[in-house]
């Protein structure tokens, strides 16, 4: 075991849902201070993969090492405790609950002693407001229900939360898909900052430009299998785009529409 073991390493991960095979042997590693982009077509298994890393699903077989040590997570809580914070594609937020309550859900800071242990909501409100400000959203009232936020703002809450609690690894599943240009820039900048702090990041996106802007390495999934992993200096953006989509046909459309996709 080397001293600088990857933060997360999976080998030959397989995941079945009943008779459906979602992942059939995926290997991947994320190191400190690295942004690993996970790319692939709709239904390639990206979300399933990261849900397995996050403790939502249990792998059917395969090895899963965190900092070189094999782990088995039985619940998302275990993953959180191991320092893996995740922004899910479906966000994992409760629409009827306030921004603050969603922000701290599952990890509420308490004060006082046992039977009278309180959550320090004033502190929570302050943190929420501050973290949201950092990502470029001005939450005037942190008591507002998350369900009343626009899709973009909600995404920002999920990201800010994951970043705030992300101790070692930050996983982001299509965080930029609902965001406007300004917010997207902010998130990409954020990912950049997080990497500089020495965290590992797994970043899922369908936008090859977003991926190429912040990614260090790119893993492409296809039909539940790894198609390959490439360092940024090994691959051009066009090649990457073709790998993501599967090639030929796309070229035609792209040209027809002026190469703008």
């Amino acid at each position: 075991m080397e001293t600088q073991a990857p933060l997360i390493e999976i080998r030959n991960l397989v995941k079945h849902f009943g008779s459906v095979i979602a992942l059939s042997g995926v290997s991947l590693s994320v190191h400190r201070g690295e942004v690993m982009c996970l790319l692939g077509d709709n239904g390639a298994g990206k979300s399933t993969l990261i849900k397995t890393l996050a403790g939502v699903h249990r792998p059917t077989s395969g090895d899963f090492l965190v900092e070189g040590k094999p782990v088995t997570f039985t619940s998302p809580r275990d993953a959180l405790d191991a320092g893996i914070a995740t922004v899910y594609q479906d966000l994992a937020m409760i629409p009827l609950m306030s921004v603050t309550r969603n922000f701290f859900m599952g990890r509420e800071p308490v004060k006082g002693f046992w039977p009278f242990r309180n959550v320090d909501f004033d502190h929570c409100d302050a943190v929420t407001r501050e973290e949201m400000q950092k990502i470029g959203i001005d939450v005037r009232d942190p008591h507002q229900a998350v369900g009343t936020l626009s899709g973009g703002e909600r995404q920002c809450v999920a990201i800010a939360r994951a970043v705030y609690f992300g101790a070692k690894v930050l996983i982001l599943d299509e965080p930029t898909s609902a965001l406007g240009v300004a917010q997207t820039s902010m998130v990409l900048k954020y990912i950049h900052q997080v990497r500089q702090k020495g965290l590992g990041v797994i970043f899922i996106t369908h936008n090859v430009r977003h991926a190429y802007a912040v990614g260090d390495r790119f893993t492409v999934l296809n039909r539940g299998k790894t198609l390959g992993t490439y360092a940024k200096d090994e691959i051009q953006i066009e090649e990457l785009q073709n790998l993501m989509a599967g090639g030929k046909e796309l070229q035609a459309v792209s040209e027809e529409l002026g190469g703008m996709v």
């Binding site: 309550r101 369900g147 703002e153 909600r154």
Partner: protein
């Protein structure tokens, strides 16, 4: 002009809480903030019902004795309603509450009359039994992933049936067990669970002619029935729990979206099991209070209370789908229900019309509650 461009998702079916961005609206915002709480509507409903009875009922209804008289049934229902509200917020139902009252009442009665345990031990043991039963309910719901409606419905029948069988076994054939009050002693434990509190105060008030007295000189109200104090205390604790603690956040999360909550690290199963146990313990508390008060228990105790508890919680603003509601709302809901059901006896209406009035009043209270909330929050 109001200038708001904060984005808001479309959430027209759920209570929308809008966001006011302009500083000039701060006062409105504060009012809105108070008024949008789920319990405020229930308070408005209570006001409406009170006004109705003030204008139609015998004046003795709102005398001190009358108010105590309204609060007694409200308290017993309310303890159940608050627990049911917590459980509903947590996304589950417990239809076995009413049967649980009968069953734990029987268990408690047996501990007192058959084993002859001291009151404190009997009470503790009853709570333990209730907690276990609640835990069983919860575990079945969690493990089988069946709707709690159907699981607890089965327990509604099972516990009601066991109460009958148990009563017959314990009493040698009767469906009524008497004499529990007499055997349970008169120590401080009993003071906590039965009779009235603050008797000194009321005696003093009566002595100084500040409250009404019977011809024989005793005050018409000798004190506050302890069940009312339990009711208020439980409402306060439950409110604190919901609004200020980690567990409260988890309850909202578990009911709002169990999957999302689980993914965020909330131990949803533990929260739900805990809530089922709490609900069962609330039923046990009501059983102990009524059994000590009445001195007896029978196979029909708590009949349909599960239903009334859910009604009170819904009047109090809980959503049946979970994730939204309040303990204080259930508190007011129980008082509305208690006031309507007792209040009609103070009016001149023929009791044949009782149910018609009960239904109409409930509908009116809820409509008014809804109307107020919409007016205030600008929701359409």
């Amino acid at each position: 002009m109001v200038n708001t461009t904060q984005p808001t998702a479309d959430l027209s079916s759920a209570p929308v809480i809008e966001k006011i961005q302009d500083e000039r609206l701060k006062e409105v915002s504060l009012l809105t903030k108070i008024m949008r709480r789920p319990e405020l509507g229930a308070l408005a409903g209570l006001a409406l019902v009170t006004i109705f009875f003030l204008s139609t009922a015998d004046s003795s209804m709102f005398s001190l004795a009358g108010v105590m008289n309204i609060l007694s049934p409200a308290a017993q229902l309310g303890i159940l309603a608050i627990a049911a509200a917590l459980l509903m917020i947590g996304g589950e139902f417990d239809l076995s509450i009413g049967s649980m009252v009968a069953f734990t009442g029987l268990v408690f009665g047996c501990f007192i009359t058959l084993t002859g345990w001291p009151l404190l031990l009997a009470i503790a043991a009853t709570f333990v039994v209730a907690a276990i039963l609640g835990g069983v309910n919860g575990q079945i719901v969690i493990r089988t992933r069946l709707p709690s409606f159907i699981v607890t419905l089965a327990f509604l029948f099972i516990l009601r049936g066991l109460s009958l069988v148990g009563l017959k076994w314990a009493t040698g054939g009767s469906t009524q067990m008497r004499g529990i009050g007499a055997q349970s002693g008169e120590d401080w434990v009993r003071e906590i669970f039965s009779g009235t509190a603050l008797e000194g105060l009321f005696g003093w008030l009566a002595a100084h002619d500040l409250i009404a007295k019977f011809p024989n000189g005793t005050p018409t109200v000798t004190g506050v029935p302890v069940s009312i104090l339990w009711f208020i205390g439980f409402a306060l604790v439950a409110t604190w729990l919901l609004l200020r603690t980690r567990a409260g956040n988890w309850i909202f999360a578990a009911g709002g979206d169990a999957n999302a909550a689980r993914n965020s690290g909330v131990p949803v199963d533990r929260v739900k099991t805990g809530l089922f146990m709490l609900t069962a313990c609330a039923a046990a508390l009501v059983a102990i209070l009524t059994v000590l008060d009445a001195g007896s228990t029978d196979a029909r105790r708590g009949f349909q209370k599960e239903f009334e508890a859910i009604i009170a919680a819904v009047i109090g603003g809980c959503l049946l789908t979970g994730g939204y509601g309040s303990a204080i709302g259930a508190f007011f809901g129980a008082i509305i229900f208690g006031m309507v059901s007792i209040g009609l006896t103070y009016t001149r209406f023929d009791s044949d019309w009782f149910q018609v009035f009960l239904g109409a009043m409930l509908l009116l209270a809820v409509l008014f509650n809804n109307f107020i909330r919409r007016k205030v929050t600008g929701e359409r």
